[in-house]
Amino acid sequence: MSASLSYSKTTDWRLPRLRRGALAVWRRNALVWRKLMGASILINFGEPFVYLLGLGFGLGHFIGDMAGMPYLTFLASGLVASSAMNTASFEAMYSVYTRMVPQRTYDAMLATPLDVDDIAAGEMLWSASKGLISSSSILIVSVLLGAVTEWTALWAVPVLWLVGLCFAGPALVMSALSPSYEFFSYYFTLVVTPMFIFSGVFYPIATLPAMLQAAVQILPLTHAIALIRPLVSGQPVTQVALHLAVLCAYALVCYYIAVVLIRRRLIV
């Protein structure tokens, strides 16, 4: 590299490198979470209880079975996946932004051997971990309510972690671009909520008009549910490679974009 001339106005497009430093970032967040664990566990278990009891039993009474399983099981498997989405998205936006801007946590990290690659990777790993914590809570509640009885549901756990990574990626890109917290409500309203409604949480996507069915195939939540639901309900899983590939692609591509954008924001 030639004496770093006129380096500043151009964007640093270099591919990020994964290093152990990401774990130090993950660990920092895990330690903060541990301090506040009591309150967050209550929310993690309380909310799905309300959802599953209210919607699952209430609607389930009228609906009966859906897609070859009790509605409670159908809904529980959808909520497990969407909870990983919601929690990971929330963490990678509101919490990341808090650390990046008002709290200046990243400025402090950037005076140590950590660089943006490590910070972004650590935050994604952590957001996915939080997604896993909340979605596993729903899974446990579902077992307690008798909605989930199959051992294959354990396979959902590693997949849910990947689902978390997949949604942490785009959320991190939003954080990197965001001028303020308000920005994130647009993302939730325009991206997360439509996915929640259209990707098959509440009903099979096969009931959608053909056009919409094709469209929802680009949404990661559709693929997450396509993996999670059969695992949770004990049905055969199809097109595993495709679904995993879509989830990985969202995670990796967005990680790269987020690193480039955060570099541009912090290394000025």
Binding site: L5, A24, R28, Q103, A108, A111, T112
Partner: protein, 310 residues
């Protein structure tokens, strides 16, 4: 990694180092050599480019042009290696509000890849050093400004750095805290660390810095030891004369080799003929004055002017 000759002599070696933001140059072709050991001062008014220079040294800001070596390593490529041996006290505290005092040191040490067992004795020692032992379990939001600053200093030492970079370490602190911090910094110097300090307090620079540069608008306009600068840039004596500026002007017009600067109702008179000025001023009944030796502040104001910045 190959190192050139100069690399071994200087912690920081910058040649024609420049930084521009959106076409606006804030550091202009700076040549800077910081030797190992002692305290090196970077002085300048607000907006002079001090923080920007430090950020380039830390690899937090890529230079727009020029060359920069830290520990003999090329920046910004060597950023990660360089940062393992630097401690930073940033201009604005960025302690982690989610943790206590001791936890802040622990977490920060983890960023350097240090383990719990390596960190335990260091944290102990550093908390004693900055007199925060009793506050080990206190949350950051409960600390006073001075305590936060001291914790920032402790945090900057967690990796046992060779170079400690301090960006306006005592700005906004009361005199007691400031003096206490100066004592700590002198101890660090004695321990063989190199300090790189920015400040706009001349008293601080005069007490701590072995060598310094004065910068203004991105350019180094003077450099040397504090004594050299005082000797070379201003006459030996300063009179701060209170009274009508025109009156003072006409009074002192009889004395040669003197420079007058009026600021409100005070006229600063720089001279190497103190005896003569004393005689003139003593004879006048309508003015009062303060006679003192020239100091670094006079150098600073002479070089950078009295206009307000930012």
């Amino acid at each position: 990694m190959t190192t050139s000759n100069t690399a071994l002599d200087y912690v920081i070696d910058a040649a024609a180092l420049s930084k521009a933001y959106a076409g606006h140059a804030v550091v202009k072709e700076m040549d800077l050599k910081v030797p190992y050991g002692g305290c090196f001062g970077l002085l300048g008014p607000n907006g002079a480019g001090k923080t920007t220079t430090l950020k380039m040294i830390l690899g937090q800001s890529p230079p727009s042009a020029g060359r920069l070596q830290v520990f003999g390593l090329e920046m910004p490529q060597a950023t990660r290696i360089v940062r393992t041996s630097i401690g930073v006290v940033p201009q604005t505290d960025n302690l982690d509000p989610d943790f206590t005092v001791a936890e802040n040191l622990q977490i920060y040490g983890n960023y350097f890849g240090l383990t719990k067992s390596e960190l335990a004795p260091r944290i102990h020692r550093l908390l004693d050093l900055v007199e925060l032992r009793e506050r080990a379990g206190t949350r950051i939001s409960k600390l006073s400004g001075g305590m936060m600053r001291r914790l920032s200093i402790a945090r900057a030492l967690i990796n046992d750095p060779e170079l400690v970079v301090l960006d306006e370490p005592t700005t906004g602190l009361d005199p007691q805290v400031r003096h206490r911090i100066w004592t700590r910094l002198r101890e660090l110097k004695q321990a063989g660390k190199t300090l790189l300090l920015t400040t706009h307090y001349m008293e601080e620079a005069e007490r701590l810095c072995d060598k310094l540069v004065v910068m203004d608008q991105g350019i180094i306009i003077a450099e040397g030891t504090p004594q050299q600068l005082i000797r070379d840039c201003v006459p030996d004596d300063v009179f701060e004369v209170h009274g009508d500026a025109q009156r003072v002007n006409s009074l002192l017009s009889v004395v040669e080799n003197l420079r007058l600067e009026a600021v409100g109702d005070t006229t600063y008179c720089y001279t190497s003929d103190a005896a003569r000025v004393v005689r003139v001023l003593e004879a006048a009944v309508d003015v009062s004055y303060l006679h003192r030796h020239a100091n670094l502040e006079d150098v600073f104001l002479t070089l950078t002017g009295r206009d307000l910045r930012e």
